[in-house]
Symmetry: C2
Subunit: 291 residues, 2 copies
């Protein structure tokens, strides 16, 4: 059963990411219900045609598909399990999709709770940032049954460009952890390389330029490398969100007995940036550690 | 003064990289003189029209531009400073170009020795590997005077696609060190990410696929990531060559007082691979450490 555009979709969490995602669902013709703790963040969506019934429970009662896109696990857990939460309102046969980032274990616990209500669920964290959310070009990494994924596809198509079912519940979060490991690690490597050039008195802009077409080339070198050289630390995604990724990798390391030395080194740098009070800067703030 | 195609070019070191580079110089119309310690490696170039006068000194006597492309600094130093070496034969007014990888300090010492003979020189290490050398699409990172770089341009154009003057003598080697820091580090990060997926029982091929279009995307994830999944450890470049890059980064760290924690972590993994006797495998052998 595919979700058609007559379906209603609930979006809980309409911040940096959730707001443009909800806009794209409206544009695709869905009936959209929204909720946010800071109610003022709902005004623009209301003007565009979304309805805000007042609580996660009320959103769930009205929606065929309920999406959460919240900043962290505590907020997500409260929206799902808390008073007036999603589990109180959701109807059997509907679909739940958490598009935020959490651990694989949390994702599996959520799937279990919804299964007990007769509700399919998918963990579907994204990459692509605010820009990708606005443009509708997010990458969506999904964990859940094939049937649930098939139902979600039209909705993913409204918000993303690439959406792949990685495996069962939790698999989307595992893919996201892998993604963040590479992203944070590469930002640190680019910062290290540009800092090395600068320390030797060589123009880091020329070094970046000569590296771009070769095997050192990456989207991070292209975009974040440029931001570092411009000393533009304005957040796409604030670096403090990587603290969650750091915990994910440390938890994965403990759970699997595998060491991830380069990623751990990079995440320790992230921790230093956050601890010195610069967590709201972009993750390119790793470059500032070399000042 | 630009080098024209009537010029003679000497290539000392005709191995994996030097041989196809010399072929491309022949194709571009240069008169090419070659030398290699293992003389049998000269046969194919001889058949293609190159002349092998028997020593680095003899090559230098006959060439307007002398290129070295040797495996390590010891071999390069011997070819330059040793008995029957380049310095004994090179003519004032000619140009010396070391395209191998060494430290910035070595590059500056070499430049000084040639300057005393009235010879311009450039350190011009490359990236792009054997494939890039064959296709004539190398990236060339040059250090030297602007005048020397202008003279070398037509020759670089015959072997490479991107060639940028980074700065004075040694700057090419600094850029190469930056490049290798990112390459080795990213290979390690990709290995870590794919190992994490596999340890959780998720298909690493799907995880690679979903990561490719996003910010985790890179040439390393695309090509080396694929090789890891195929368990293809056949060397493009053997991982032991990264031991030189490791020393470069450790030396840079000591010289500048800057720590490069993610790069150092990656290079320690390289060291483990080499120490357990797998140094002749591809740098994707970093993935084998997770078996």
């Amino acid at each position: 059963m595919s979700t058609n555009v007559n379906a209603s979709v609930g979006v809980i969490g309409t911040g940096l990411m959730g707001k443009p995602m909800a806009h794209n669902l409206l544009k695709a013709g869905y009936e959209v219900y929204v909720h946010n703790r800071t109610a003022s963040k709902l005004d623009e969506l209301g003007a565009a045609g979304a309805v805000a019934p007042g609580s996660p429970r009320a959103v769930a009662e009205k929606s065929d598909v309920v999406i959460t896109m919240l900043i962290d696990w505590e907020t997500t857990r409260e929206a799902i399990f808390g008073k007036d939460g999603i589990l109180e309102g959701i109807r059997p046969g509907s679909l739940f999709v958490d598009m935020g980032t959490t651990t694989p274990k949390n994702a599996r616990d959520v799937a279990k709770a919804f299964a007990e209500k007769g509700v399919d669920s998918i963990d579907a964290p994204v990459s692509g940032g605010e820009q990708g959310a606005i443009a509708g070009t997010l990458t969506i990494m999904a964990g859940g049954t094939e049937a649930a994924f098939e139902r979600a596809k039209p909705i993913f198509a409204a918000m993303g460009k690439t959406y792949i079912r990685i495996g069962e519940s939790g698999a989307g979060q595992i893919a996201k952890a892998c993604n963040q490991l590479i992203v944070a690690g590469t930002v640190e490597l680019v910062a290290e390389a540009l800092a090395l050039a600068r320390a030797y008195g060589v123009d880091p802009a020329l070094v970046r330029e000569v590296m771009l077409p070769g095997f050192a080339g990456s989207k991070i070198l292209e975009f974040q490398g440029k931001k570092m050289l411009d000393r533009n630390f304005k957040p796409g995604g604030p670096i403090k969100t990587h603290m969650k990724d750091r915990e994910n990798v440390l938890e994965a390391s403990a759970a699997t007995g595998i060491d991830f030395p380069a990623a751990k080194a990079a995440f320790e740098r992230v921790k230093i940036v956050v601890e010195r009070g610069e967590g709201d800067l972009d993750h390119t703030a790793l470059f500032k550690l070399f000042d």
